[in-house]
Amino acid sequence: MAATIPKHRALPDKENKLFRELLMQYEMKQYKKGIKAADTILKKFPNHGETLALKALTLHASLPEPLTVSAVPKKEESEAMARLAVKKDITSHITWHVLGILAKSRKDWDEASRAFAMARKQDSDNIPLIRDSISLFTHTRQYSAAVAARHHYLLLRPQIRASWLGLMIAHQLNGDLEEALEVYNGYLSTLQKDGATGPEKSQVLLHVIKICIEAGKDQEGLDKLRQGVRDGVISPRADDLTLPAQMLTNLGRQEEALQTYQELLEQNPDNLEYYRGYLKSKGIDMTGEITADSREKILETLSSFAETFPRSSAPKRLALDVAEGDKFAELARAYIVKGLERGVPSLFVDVKGVYSDSAKLNAVGEIVEEIVSKLEKEKSLNDDGSISPPTVLLWAYYYLALHLSHPLHPNPSHTRSLKLLDLALAHTPTLPELYMAKAMVLKRAGDALGAAYEMEKARLLDGQDRFLNGKAAKYWLRAGEITKAEELLAMFTKKDLTPVQDLTDLQCLWFLQEEGDAYKRNGNLAMALKRYQALAKVFQEYEDDQYDFHTYCMRRMTFSAYISLMRYEDQLRSHPGYFKGALSGIEIYLNVHDDPSITEEKLSAEDEAERKKAAKKAQKAEQKAKKAAAATGDKNDPVVPDEDPTGMKLLKTETPLDDALRLWKPLERLAGQRIETWLAGYEIYSRKKLYLAALRCLNNAHALSPHNADLHVQLLNFKRLTSDALSISGNGNEAQIKQVIDAQLPALLPSESLQQYNDSFLARGDVTPTSPEEIFAVARGKLEIEPKDIEGAVSVLSKLGDEGVPPSIEIMGKALKYIQRHVAGQDADGAVESLRSKFAGRSRLASVFKSAEEKQAYRERLEKVAAEENGVGEA
């Protein structure tokens, strides 16, 4: 149907010919010629929308990647031109299409999806437009719109396989499984021979079976699967075989299900899920509460599997989770002895999984002590008197050292751990694992610097090992030695980039988090924030990465994997990597809000020197980039430099709370099961004086864990902030807000005397012994109720250093900082000092409680020892 061309769009023959050439030149990537042609048309018809659009598109396509300084204005010009083009010709599919393409290249998916929808209104049967629209609707989770577009596409292209299967997937994503299966049946009856390869057919059929399972049609799924195996489409292996196992269990066909799991275990006896599935089809659910009766049955089954699969540790390890009492001790001893004899370094991380049960922790401790003393006395673990190799004792020392310093240990002994490791080192001084263990013990004892020196020794024993290199770098970061850490990391990163740049490009989450933390501890909040924001940006990349796969997976027919991708992306930011970084960033924004003066630079001489060094480095890098650009012909046109190399622009934000909220929003949506989400939300909303939102956070936190220590303080804080309607200043509905608060707060915070409530938090019956978190919370509670009661707070805090309270260096450190902040300007130095010396006595190795002189002396000693050791090494 040839619609009449509207007047403002029509061009005379000559220009019309140029316009068609312009299209061609764009396709052929002849951008210079294209722009010239566009300019010729625009000279005569400056308001011709479609020409403007194509010029914008061509200009945009000609930009260098990565963007250089001189290209920045061209980019802006192209974007402005694309917008102007739409204004000049609002009924053209070309102008909207170009606007959409440019938005897509900015990864502004929402705007792109709107623009493509507008373009389709003008030209509804345009295939490329529909394809892009489908991807954009799917990407932005507009599933019903995606179904409609897919449907339209199928009507236009019914002979293509992907049209049918794409519609099936669109229905599934839209939650309509019946419709999805319906489309699949339609596909079968329409396209008999579709030329798919074997693996492709198998992918399609397996996915359809998964849809059947999701729709509760296990029998139909099972029939399809059996047919598929008979036809040779499906190979009965691994995850493909878990499908029938799952369906048979659902259908209650126990015998067949057991047999299928048996087959699976023979394929892979190290898969825990297969054991769980086997037991489940026997009617025993391992994930719930286990009765004495079923415990015995589980252990029997596992022990027979352990005999069938002697090379797999899985059944033996699973048994440790299930067994109790003497049975546990018996199984654990055998497991541990075997691990020690094989010299498995990971034995401790493997077994410590059972430590959440304190009885098991104690039992394991006794077992290993017994092993150590038997080996020391008799040099043998066997009753027949045969000598055990000396490495068994070495690994037993190693295990015991890690055990005694574990945070869950009720009475940790870091000094004994270190002695044990020295005994092991006397035997084998060249085993990096022993130094790594020493480093870990010192870290747990609060001596970050000592720990870094030990990790460095491990690294020096095997300089080619990236794992040791990264560990050492991480430990230097923990000790605040950022430059040193980066120097080490550079040994394994690209030579033409800084290690920070390379590791950021490679999306190295641990590094961004740890270096951010290091900057934060060193007081450089700007750089810390820069790293945390880089972390958030990596997660944006992870989200954007899925875009290409909306079409790719339809082509490759990997539908199951694609559906998992979609579901994964929907909860991407509940990943601990994002979670931790976001909370760290939020904390800085809160600090900036509370005290904007911290954004003023107060650099120590050391930082100043480092800053100057960094500036010099940046200058050098710029010169290098210029040189490189010159070599490729682009003289003096370097890549657009980092606009905020020091992070100061980020830190000097005018809207810290809004910035914090931007990091928090994904947590609200995707990490609602973590109490930290709501605790952080409260801190933001209470500062924004949005008291109902703050109350909602308190409610959610309370529902997750009513006796959480931080929540306790927040409730008292909220009470203080909202004690009278006057303090709820805002938009005129203070009285109503106050009413809601008065109605809801009593469920969270008893209305008895607050003092009494706060004091009773420690004496509650449900927790023994008192945890450091709770002591710290009560002290803060005191100052929430009566800000002048420093004495009372200090006396509570001093309990943190009592015998019988687990010595948490982290909490003691926080407590000291907290009280220092509160006594600022008051005559209470004595009280703070007594607290510090008490904490120092309780954790003798921890550096945070040492004076600056003590720390300096320690540092010098470590440096000297290291230098001597290296000197000896070189001689």
């Binding site: 995850d239 899985a314 094989r342 370094p345 990264g470 490679l506 190295c508 990465d545 994997a561």
Partner: protein, 157 residues
Amino acid sequence: MDIRQATIDDLLGMQNANLLNLPENYTFKYYLYHALTWPELSYVAVDPQGRVVGYILAKMEEEPSDEPSGHVTSISVLRPYRRLGLANKLMKQSQEAMVAHYNAAFITLHVRKSNRAAISLYRDTLGFEVHAMEKSYYADGEDAYGMRYVFKKPTPA
């Protein structure tokens, strides 16, 4: 350690393990490309805390000259988790999947010429043989050995 087929949820854990352990690294999208093209071929080893401590990232040759063949893009076990035979188990699972799903005739991999530990693992434990030498295969200019392992054909009945 739990050994199972890798899912999309495991890819970030694999990326993390790779960055900790090896000098050859990839962005997330490359892991996606593997998982969304050959979802059956990559495996992970996971510790009781749910952390990926070992992985094999594998693919099929996109344009095979004659018979279909598999390729190991990357395999690695975190240093503290060695001596458990994990690499061996991961490799075995991936190989069986290549044969079962794609009818692979053989499997190839690249290894740094200087990486004697890895060469010995592939050759002595896993039965690979050096097939070719590739000059300056790695970004830093080091040569690679191309190694391959030919799958035994099931004897016809």
